[in-house]
């Protein structure tokens, strides 16, 4: 089976690479100018906007962490998808943040901070944004490599994880540096189509092997009511569900820079809301389908007749993470496994390029640019972004090797992301919807929002906060940031009014 898998893998990979190269060559004539480099010429129509928005938010990491949740928590993990749908429908229906931010005409989000609060807030906000984002993507590479290696090894094709990590990151760095946002979006569209097709084929194939009724019975037998009811599940509960509506829904769609930057690329302002509204079902699918694969993996390794249990033994604390790829590699025919592996590789690339480009462009344009006076220097901006893409990729390689937190991957992502979004949601929504917002309020919000870092597993342990759940720490950080924002703005506004009255 290993030989036929590798043959199919080579064929599908070749077809994918040829398609991507042809697509890039066709678009190469557009590649000049800051608007082209940072927001893809701001020419996205509805279809492309939906594809790139969906693809950015469905990476191999998304599949891995949702599958892990499904494996550990059963069908109850589906509530994350429902929460994402609710949050994204809210954003799409009201145009919350996404519509007014597109109207401002900025190229990056911290640029809006400067428009609204001043240059120092732009620089400080960009540092916080990039720090949260880069920490957030720290595990992408490691998880992707483990996932792909486990999937292929189960079919007999052994792969070196470290070599795979280096190859994956090198490919992403090369083409992201080459074409900027245009490259990112072209890859996104290909990836979206490939991954959606691959996942649907996989679900159809696997539900013929393990029917849904059988999966329900097995989950009920092993996990009880907690395998279905998120409020009865010990790992979830009400605060977790509310946290998910905020994180997986509102923040993922309207606050998280990799998603929100897509709103800046859309050609017409009126298309923005429609793109988000339609994409809300993708925000549902991206959580539920991989979680379902995780549930099926749990069942797969608990059905003695299938005989896959020995595959899982020996993986120690990574067992819940590699269970789904091991099932895929063990159960699926060679051609489907190879197709899915290429789709997963593409999905890794599309998220990786978006994230690398997003954080590098923010650091180049909103930190180095204002500090060295090169904001409008096209050459400096492009080269600054390219160098930072390489630096961030090297960090990711390093972080993938050293981080040893104990939380599920999804919880790590939610917590590390909260370092930015706890203050980001306050600064963006506050600036766009409250006329009284001021620079001092923004500064206090940024500083206080940073307290979200206390929810990271090693820091939580060091501070003795283990009894408090991460969602509660996150909500507290948002609350503190909001209080700082309002109090800071009101006090600065009062002083300004008094000075104006005295003059």
């Amino acid at each position: 089976m290993a030989n036929s898998t590798l043959t199919y893998l080579a064929l599908f990979s070749l077809a994918y690479v040829v398609a991507i190269v042809l697509a890039h060559r066709g678009k190469a004539r557009h590649a000049s100018g800051l608007t082209e480099f940072f927001v893809s010429g701001r020419d996205l129509g509805l279809g492309m906007a939906i594809a790139t928005l969906g693809a950015t938010e469905i990476g191999l990491i998304t599949i891995a962490y949702n599958a892990q949740k499904g494996f550990n928590e059963g069908f109850a993990a589906f509530h994350i998808g429902l929460a994402a749908l609710v949050g994204c429908v809210f954003v799409g229906a009201l145009g919350f943040v996404v519509k007014p931010i597109r109207r401002t005409g900025v190229l990056t989000l911290p640029e809006y901070y400067e428009q609204r609060y001043g240059r120092d807030i732009r620089v400080f906000g960009a540092i916080v944004m990039a720090m949260g984002g880069i920490l957030n993507m720290g595990l992408f590479l490691k998880v992707a490599s483990l996932f792909l290696a486990a999937m292929l090894s189960a079919s007999g094709a052994e792969v070196n994880v470290n070599a795979l990590m280096i190859t994956l990151i090198a490919v992403a760095v090369i083409y992201t540096c080459y074409g900027g946002m245009r490259s990112v979006i072209i890859t996104d569209v290909f990836q979206f189509v490939l991954l959606a097709a691959g996942l649907i084929f996989a679900v159809i194939f696997l539900t013929r092997l393990i029917p849904i009724d059988q999966a329900v019975s097995l989950v009920q037998e092993h996990k009880g009511v907690g395998g279905f009811d998120p409020f009865a599940n010990e790992s979830f509960g009400l605060s977790y569900v509310l946290w998910m509506i905020l994180v997986a829904g509102v923040v993922s769609a309207a606050i998280w820079p990799t998603a929100l930057s897509r709103a800046l690329c859309i050609e017409k302002e009126e298309t923005v809301q429609r793109a988000y509204l339609i994409s809300s079902v993708i925000f549902l699918s991206r959580m539920i389908i991989p979680a379902f694969l995780g549930v099926l993996a749990f069942c797969y390794f608990n059905i003695p007749a299938i005989g896959g249990s020995e595959l899982l033994s020996g993986h120690g604390s990574d067992a819940d993470l590699v269970a789904t790829p091991l099932m895929l590699g063990h159960a699926m025919p060679s051609w489907l496994l190879a197709f899915l592996a290429v789709a997963m590789f593409a999905s890794f690339m599309s998220t990786q390029d978006s994230y690398l480009f997003c954080w590098a462009s923010i650091l180049s344009r909103d930190v180095l640019g204002p500090v060295f006076g090169t904001v409008d220097n096209e050459k400096a901006q492009k080269w600054g972004t390219r160098v930072l893409i390489v630096v961030i990729a090297l960090y990711e390689l390093y972080w993938g090797l050293i981080y040893e937190g104990r939380e599920d991957i999804w919880d790590y992502l939610a917590v590390s992301g909260s370092i930015y979004f706890c203050s980001g949601i306050v600064l963006l929504a506050g600036g766009l919807y409250w006329k009284g917002a001021t620079r001092r309020g923004a500064l206090w919000a940024l500083v206080l929002g940073f307290t979200a870092v206390a929810a990271l597993s090693p820091i939580k342990t060091a501070l003795g906060l283990e009894a408090i759940s991460s969602p509660m720490i996150g909500f507290a950080a948002i609350g503190l940031s909001l209080v700082g924002f309002v109090v800071g703005s009101l006090t600065e506004g009062r002083v300004a009014r008094q000075e104006k009255g005295a003059a």
Partner: protein, 40 residues
Amino acid sequence: MSIDGWVSLWTVLLWLSAGAFGLVTIYVLYGLVRGLRKSR
């Protein structure tokens, strides 16, 4: 809500997810083909 209620809810959402993935994929492919035709 009973387990049966949760199972019904999650099953509906699962098929909605799969259907949405399929429909959006077709829509994106249609947009790509239309874009290619226009560019020629």
